[in-house]
Amino acid sequence: MDFNDTKEEADYRAKVRAWLDQNAERKKSSKDALPSLGLEEALERARKWQATKAEGGFACITWPKEYGGQGGSSIHNVIYSQEESNYLVPGGFYAIGLGMCVPTVLAWGTEEHKERYVAPAIHGDEIWCQLFSEPAGGSDVAGLRTKAEKDGDEWVINGQKVWTSGAHYCDYGIVVVRTDPNVPKHKGLTMFIIDMKSEGVDVRPIKQMSGESEFNEVFFTNVRVPDSNRLGNPGDGWKVALTTLMNERLAVGGGGGADWEELMSLGRESELEQMAAMSNGAVRERVADWYVQTQGLKYTRFRTLTALSKGQTPGPESSISKVVSAAKMQDLGSFAMDLQGQAGIIRDREVSPQGAIFQNQWMGGAGYRIAGGTDEILRNIVAERVLGLPQDIRVDKDKPYNELPK
């Protein structure tokens, strides 16, 4: 039992490191970050880095070689990410496209789709977004209302999507829509590739409770999409969407942010009951609990990596990660604010302890517990897929969509 690389993994890691040393600047500490830029400049910086990775042979490592990937294994991909995290490189813009959308194109697209879309995505020339959630369909995505009607060789889309990251700068998206309201909800959906610059696509930012705007609403008004942009058969949209959602649960990773160490440092600086807060039993107990959770998640990832390293399919244990980290994120933020006395309500990067990280986390945690599968949906998934418990009784399962109460 050890954390060591196999010979092959160690060789690959050395190759990755040598390449990163040539092409990026190593972080001096784990908190080092690139300077923040405006959208256009940040995009350009990310685009350049993606192109550099593609030329170096480290973009889309697990994708098949014939479409421009590296034909590598999941463990290669992990090793690359581990190493890359030690360097100052831009991230973000490509995660959803390369993590979820284009893999869906690879799984369901025609030869023409793959020829056309995969290589430009790898090289960073085109960015993708995912258009699934709707105001009336969140956890119940298959209850979505946006519809597409056939008109000759084209489909005409009308409706609204929501929570779409990056819709304002993306070139393409995958969109799931209702093409047949006369059959039960899961059977009447179809997936399309959509050009985000099409006429009738209107992107508006959503202002979140936290005050930030990381997502958009996307309105479709008579947007025409050629039938050749269809992924899978009409009516297969749900199956296609599941491919994407499986990837989403892998992509929505750890919460990051403040953890037990930040809390402990706050506890040393704050007073409680006329003593350093870290001497307080309640504070000590929370620090211990969150340390134990963080360690548990870390070593759960190591168990998953071990399976990948041995060429096995990882066990279901990785499904616990988000449910634990999201609640921890919110609760830890809230508890740390309690340690700040009455001033804990101040959320100001300039004056709040540690740059208001706890206030931000308390606020952001409320969203993180919902994004990419709510706490409740994730528990259903564990119960049904891991433990073999039955689905809830679904009153809408066999009824045509247009007869459901809405």
Binding site: M278, V287, Y291, T300, V323, V382
Partner: protein, 374 residues
């Protein structure tokens, strides 16, 4: 990355599991609960026959000389079976204490017997309804004689030999020393006590001028106890996750057969999410246990933190699974006939066995503070 047990270790695990499913189903555990036997002698003999009592004892003392990882897989299966045997007392505690603090003579006298199962050992610590510490331990060792009473000693009425945490008169942490006592010798009175889990026998032991021997250096008893408990905590955590997993599957199986309001109760989210939470806690604990096992086996510097994390999370996983398993069963789960009680009883017994989570959390944070200051 090779963060897993080896194929040989998994084979050992399977063979222990098979023996226990043959000889130690919950019906066998129930016989100990309902009857007078203090432990399942037949199961103990079968474990001895498999050689697992001497797993981590060096070959020169009659053991197999294997590492800690082998003991971890055995522990998980014993926990799953809720086996009524003195394995933890004899192997994780008495054996480990001898390895940590025993003199060469003491090792030669006792380790071969503990390895062969000819003798059963235990560790005596508590003296009253409070956490044992240098402030509370009064049992006195002086001039090779031991005096005073230890309470709730695990397997105290079965054991042949006990390692005892005793007061030797120094100040602060240095007040305590470990001593070893032959429980069959004169001056030892043993009285079985009623506990929450009669499937694991406990006793109060009174020493009156009982002959005893100092182990290791005088005044090092508290430090040695801490070292012994760190390794015992990892091993016991494996018992705890074994038990937690068994309780989780018992709840799940019942949720798949019991109907209420016209549907399987396992289709209600209130029940599903409860069992999903058992799984979440279990997997967090399992991952912490694996790291604990690795640190124990490698004698790693992070063992104290790893042991605490394993113990805290495994205690929580077992508490939740055992308690909510009864809840999933409803009224039938609260009857004497139901098997839910075995995990419920054992989960709390193990939660207190090496000191409660309250103590371990505080110890963990103290350790993190030291590490952070360094």
């Amino acid at each position: 990355m090779n963060f897993d047990f080896s194929d040989d270790q998994k084979l050992l695990k399977e063979s222990v599991k098979k023996m226990l499913s043959d000889k130690c189903d919950l019906g066998r555990v129930r016989k100990v609960l309902d009857g007078d036997e203090p432990f399942a002698k037949d199961v103990w003999d079968a474990l001895v026959e498999l050689g697992v009592t001497g797993t981590a004892i060096p070959e020169e003392y009659g053991g197999l000389g294997l590492g800690a990882l082998e003991l971890c897989v055995v522990a998980e299966e014993l926990g799953r079976a809720a086996a009524p045997v003195p394995f933890s007392s004899s192997v994780y505690l008495a054996t480990e204490a001898l390895l940590v603090a025993g003199t060469e003579e003491q090792k030669q006298a006792w380790l071969p017997k503990l390895a062969s199962g000819e003798a059963i050992g235990t560790f005596a610590m508590a003296e009253g309804f409070t956490a044992a510490s240098p402030r509370t331990v009064e049992v006195a060792f002086n001039a090779d004689k031991l005096n005073g009473t230890k309470v709730a000693v695990p397997d105290g009425d079965i054991a042949d030999v006990a390692v005892v945490l005793a007061n030797t008169g120094g100040s602060g942490d240095k007040a305590l020393s470990l001593v070893i006592v032959d429980l069959k010798a004169s001056g030892v009175t043993i009285e079985t006590v009623k506990t929450i889990d009669p499937t694991r026998s406990h006793a109060n032991i009174t020493f009156k001028d009982a002959p005893a021997e100092l182990m290791g250096t005088e005044g090092e008893g508290w430090a040695s106890t801490s070292a012994v408990f760190d390794s015992a905590a990892v091993l016991m955590a494996f018992e705890q996750i074994g038990g937690a997993e068994a309780a989780m599957w018992m709840a799940r199986d019942y949720a798949l057969e019991r109907y209420a309001f016209g549907r399987l109760i396992g289709s209600y989210q209130a029940i599903k999410h409860k069992i999903a939470d058992m799984y979440v806690k279990l997997e967090l604990a399992r991952s912490n246990c694996y790291f604990g096992a690795m640190m124990l086996n490698d004698k790693g510097a992070e063992l104290p933190e790893a042991a605490a994390a394993a113990r805290i999370s495994a205690t929580e996983a077992y508490r939740y699974a055992a308690q909510e398993n009864i809840q999933v069963h409803g009224g039938i789960g609260y009857t004497w006939e139901a098997d839910t009680q075995f995990y419920f009883r054992r989960s709390k017994l193990l939660a207190l066995a090496l000191g409660s989570a309250l103590e371990w959390k505080d110890k963990l944070v103290a350790r993190l503070e030291t590490r952070n200051a360094a």
